[in-house]
């Protein structure tokens, strides 16, 4: 327990410790400042790889375990049941490693930043802490705090160190994400106040009288004090016991009536909007091209490589497990959002003349695959609850997140390299870079091909998985999604042709086109090698870490579809009403009111089911 607290906290806060050290370094020692930052990000990377992948480490990640590993819970704010808890599983581990890697590379790319280096380094390191925190935390409140903490450094990093329209881009980014955050906060509070550990304990193996527990209590990673309190007083004095624990909320969403279908529907919608702003999906994507174009190169790398993944992570970790009713009902909407983003992003990328803007729109298009893959809820009655295709879609989405993290960070870096030399990004004024910068061009073409989705490179696996899985869900969407590959090839090949090929460079500052240096080659080289490795050995490098976790999650949701959702759809019933809200407001519309148990119900007393014929989900409990 204590080792987990120490190592996970160290992993998250190590960059911040670096920032504190930097705060005491004089601001004119530029090289020292950069050096300390690079060491801090490098240490974080080494720590993340060493702790989780070394077999001898105490924090070694067990790929066969599907549940949360190395988790800990410390009570933080008991009056709101907020805890300081973290853990790692197959969904978060690849993203943590991606974050530490991209941060390290982006810090390496930060030598091009020359003004206010001290402030830059501090903000950069705080940003890394926030990103890592989002991926490892198990507490919804803490998740939200980390999620929002990331806003401020990002605002300043774009707004101070960015291009000519940096302030506009920065505030646009800030505003979009803040609005998303507000929706998220509302959903978080909605879920928190409906959550009830008492009801969850009843269907879990904590209840000694429950012969068929549907929840393994130990998997929820609740604090010992909470567990003990529920053992001692299973009814909690007749009051619900709320929680912010993400795993417990997910179990409640799937195995209890704590969140009514309508409540889940709205919570899903609010959360989904919050997350797709981050992803970003059309039509909430417009901040992204501006932010990318104006952000300095390393920040673009972070933005594309990691920040966008937080949206996908939120959908897979929070939206679906906690609000399956919403996910099921909105499956088509989610998929449509994904496909529209893919198509729109690709067409928009084709139309750009700004190199960086084109890469930014390619991100919108590629992240569309992620949303599409997550939304493929193919485990329905029509497919005999076969979760295989959905499983494939979710894995494809996860893989796409990692692959896109590598290829898009690489692309933004490569654009930055040439921008540093010629100070423009107009696609029509490039050409002939192959002759002037051969190594750079070779790496570029490799990474661009990876983004294109060429088989053998990392971009292919995710796209193929997603498109294949969609076929089973809706073949029209699948056809559209598959044909986007053609558009992608179009804009990428066209860009390669305009920038790297051609006889000669005609644009401004031609004299500055010197071959790339060792630092640049090594950053692009690492990404290029990873793009190949992930493309050739996807199982070894990525998939085996996430397999069991995603299998379990999808299997659970498929089971939920079979036992809870489909029976409900088969016999449409009136919305259950809340017994406690039954008071002097008969004419009020009863919105989002869930079934609640009479407070003094004992473990075995199921008589309320007979009293309330509208109860939907007896089958899930028995």
């Amino acid at each position: 327990m204590n080792t987990h607290v120490f190592w996970l906290s160290l992993l998250v806060f190590l960059p911040s410790l670096g920032a504190i050290v930097i705060a005491f370094v004089p601001k004119d020692r530029v090289e020292l400042l950069r050096g300390i930052s690079l060491v801090a990000t490098a240490l974080t990377f080494v720590l993340s790889v060493g702790a989780f992948l070394l077999p001898s480490s105490a924090m070694h990640f067990d790929t066969s375990a599907a549940t949360m590993q190395h988790s800990f819970v410390l009570s933080w704010i008991p009056s709101f049941d907020i805890s300081y808890s973290m853990g790692i599983d197959g969904i978060s581990l690849p993203l943590v490693l991606l974050t530490t890697l991209v941060s390290l590379l982006a810090m390496g790319a930060s030598w091009s930043v020359t003004k206010y280096v001290k402030a830059y380094c501090i903000l950069f390191l705080i940003l890394e802490t926030a990103m890592l925190g989002v991926f490892v935390t198990l507490d919804f409140f803490l998740f939200f705090v980390f999620w929002e903490v990331m806003l401020l450094p990002m605002y300043f990093l774009i707004g101070v160190w960015g291009g000519p329209r940096r302030e506009y881009a920065a505030i646009k980014f800030f505003l979009y994400t803040l609005v998303g955050g507000v929706f998220m906060l509302i959903a978080i509070l909605m879920l928190y106040f409906k959550s009830d550990l008492v009801a969850l304990a009843k269907v879990s193996d904590l209840n000694p009288n429950n012969p068929t527990p549907s929840v393994v209590w130990a998997d929820l990673h609740l604090s010992d004090a909470t567990t003990q309190a529920l053992r001692d007083d299973p009814t909690n004095g007749g009051h619900p016991r709320h929680t912010f624990n993400l795993l417990a909320l997910a179990a409640m969403g799937q195995h209890t009536d704590a969140f009514s279908p309508r409540w889940q529907y709205w919570a899903f919608l609010l959360l989904f909007v919050g997350f797709i702003i981050k992803v970003p999906s059309v039509p909430l994507h417009t901040w992204l091209p501006d932010a990318h174009v104006e952000a300095p190169t390393p920040i673009s790398m972070i933005l594309a490589g990691v920040l966008l993944k937080m949206g996908g992570y939120g959908i897979i970790r929070i939206c679906y497990p906690i609000c399956p009713h919403g996910g099921f009902d909105l499956a088509y909407v989610v998929c449509a959002v994904g496909v529209i983003s893919m198509v729109y992003g690709a067409f928009a990328a084709l139309a750009q003349t700004d190199f960086k803007r084109m890469v930014a729109y390619s991100s919108v298009s590629h992240m569309g695959y992620v949303v599409l893959g997550l939304g493929v809820w193919s485990a329905t009655a029509g497919t005999a609850y076969n979760p295989d295709y959905w499983n494939m879609g979710v894995k494809g989405a996860m893989f796409q997140m990692i692959a896109h993290g590598i290829s898009s960070a690489g692309m933004f870096f490569l654009v930055g390299v040439v921008y540093d030399r010629v100070h423009h990004r107009n696609l029509n004024e490039f050409g002939g870079l192959f002759g002037r910068m051969p190594v750079y061009t070779a790496l570029s073409i490799g990474i661009f091909f990876a983004a294109l989705g060429l088989p053998g490179l990392c971009g292919f696996i995710g796209e193929a998985f997603v498109v294949l899985s969609v076929w089973n869900f809706d073949y029209i969407l699948a056809i559209i999604a598959a044909s986007v590959v053609i558009l992608t090839a179009g804009y990428i090949l066209w860009a390669i042709q305009r920038v790297y090929l051609g006889p000669e460079y005609h644009g401004p500052h031609g004299e500055a086109l010197t071959p790339s240096n060792l630092r640049e080659n090594s950053i692009a080289g690492v990404l290029f090698v990873l793009a190949i490795l992930l493309g050739v050995f996807p199982q070894t490098f990525v998939l085996r870490y996430m397999d069991s976790t995603i299998d379990r999650q999808v299997e659970n949701l498929a089971q939920w579809t079979k036992t809870v959702k489909e029976p409900q759809l088969a016999t449409p019933q009136a919305e259950p009403v809340d017994a406690t809200a039954d008071r002097h407001r008969g004419d009020e519309p009863r919105w989002f009111v869930a079934a609640e148990h009479p407070p003094n119900e004992s473990w075995h007393d199921e008589s309320w089911q007979a009293d309330a014929p509208g109860q939907p989900s007896g089958s899930s409990r028995n």
Binding site: V145, I171, L185, L189, F193, T580, H584, E588, P589
Partner: protein, 608 residues
Amino acid sequence: MNLHDLVSQLVLDTKGPPQAGPWRVTADSSLGVFLPEVVLCAVIVLILLVRLPRWGRNINTAWLAFAGSLVALCLVAPWQLITDPAACGRMEIFTGMLVYDGFAVVMRAFLLGFLALFIVFTGLSGHPEKEDGPDIYVLLLGATLGFCLMVTANHFLMIFMAIEMASVPSYALAGMLKRERLGSEAALKYAVYGAGAAGIMLYGISLLAGLVNAVHLPTVAVELSRRLPTMDAPEMMVLALAVLMISVGLAFKLSAVPFHFWCPDVFEGASAEIGGFLSVASKGAALALLLRVAVGIGWIAPQGDLPGTRSLAAHHAVAPPERPTDAQRVSDSASPVPLAGNSQSDLTTTFVYATADPPLTAADPRAADNANLQQVRDYFSRLIALLAIVTCTFGNLAAYGQTNIKRLLAYSTIAHAGYMMMAVPAVLELLGSSPQDAPLAAASLILYLVVYLFLNLGAFFIVALVRNRQRTEQVDDYAGMLYSSPALAICFSIILLGLVGLPPLSGFLGKFAVFAALTDAFRATGAAYLMVLLLAGGLNTAVSLFYYLRIVRLMTMVPESESNRSVAVPVLSPDGLFVVLLTLPTALLIVGWQWLSAMALASTGSLF
């Protein structure tokens, strides 16, 4: 009851059992818990008198005021809420005119702690010059005394008097910058508006008194619950009108839209110091009073102890004073009822107290009466919700176009009053549906206020510092502050972003708590307007980002203009350290706010 009994009860009420000694004031008597206010009065008199002898003119009265506020703060002893919650139980003091409970303890600690910090602020910013010092400190202490009465008032006459007691010094403070036309105009506007609002409120009180024959808050609730089921339409109309008019008086103190017009003018015309004082203390007291009135007329007050009885119980030798007999009680209801005989006309009736029942249990004898009050709660909560939405939205939109920093902050405080008011509908709705959650909702208001204290005091202190050095209060002149005075710019940025309510800064905690209260109320009742309120609060947060961030952007991203004098404030100077001191809670409270939350929760339990 003969005269002797009456007097002995009065003595018991005022200073505790006579057996404790003729001069001894026991801790649980009316005077005992009123000591902080007594200290404030004493310091006021002292400051007034100290100027009379020749040697007294050299004394810096700031020290007297500071010491007085600290002594008063110690006498309030807010830590008792954690260490000895029983000592902070509900107790109606001075025959029911005021009430002492956990909420009163926390709010007075809030006001007095703020006063102490504020006196340091004035000392550092040097605003009341030496000759003005005594006047200003007397007015400040007097206003604070009024605020303390506002948060403890239990009787509509006391409410009115406390508001006046707080307002009159505020009017004078607003006009304290002599020779400033703008300040004088603002003070006049403030006074005229204040007088008008007070008149309307008094009219509302008289309507209510005429309707239910009582102005003692718990009695009003009891009477209302008794008569509401049989009230006819005209009576309902009068009641609605009375509540509306009382709300006008409260809304004026809160500077809620549409009664806010004085606020920006006063803040612009008065010095930054006075703005800071009014924005925190006046608003905090008004919000506490709003909660008291809302809960007071919407919920039957719990039984409390009689003053002096706790220490009387300690004196085993003495029999308790003669209690009214059972015949005088309403046996099946434990509500306080007026003594027989003079109940109908006497506005300051004394009450019969049954022994304290544990509140909020299923077998709460008040349940039936409280259910009768549902209509009052519904009406009042919708009224406040409407005011809150309008206030919040208007404040944020109006702040957007301001060029004067004090005017901008004035609209910002209006918007924040809107957010804080949102907690009150949540409390009222929860009282009707799941009363065990109401204390947490009420605690959100306290949490927000505490957070807001540091945010606003810090903001106004920085405004004062910049004014002292640059002689400007224009927003545009903050440009490039990061380069001339990095520490100040970073602290101000943290404060402004805290006002937005961004995590991890403390402003988020306040918003989180208030939004949580709203969500809980929405969950419990399903009333759609609560969701509207929640959405309005959330979207307003996003709107407010623009104008706060505009200042941050000016300070950090725009180069310094040539003409400006530099605002160098080194960290290691009294000014710099005070700025850091005020910023630290904003930046670090997220690490551990359980104590604050627990204290707020402990304090609100005795309200219901």
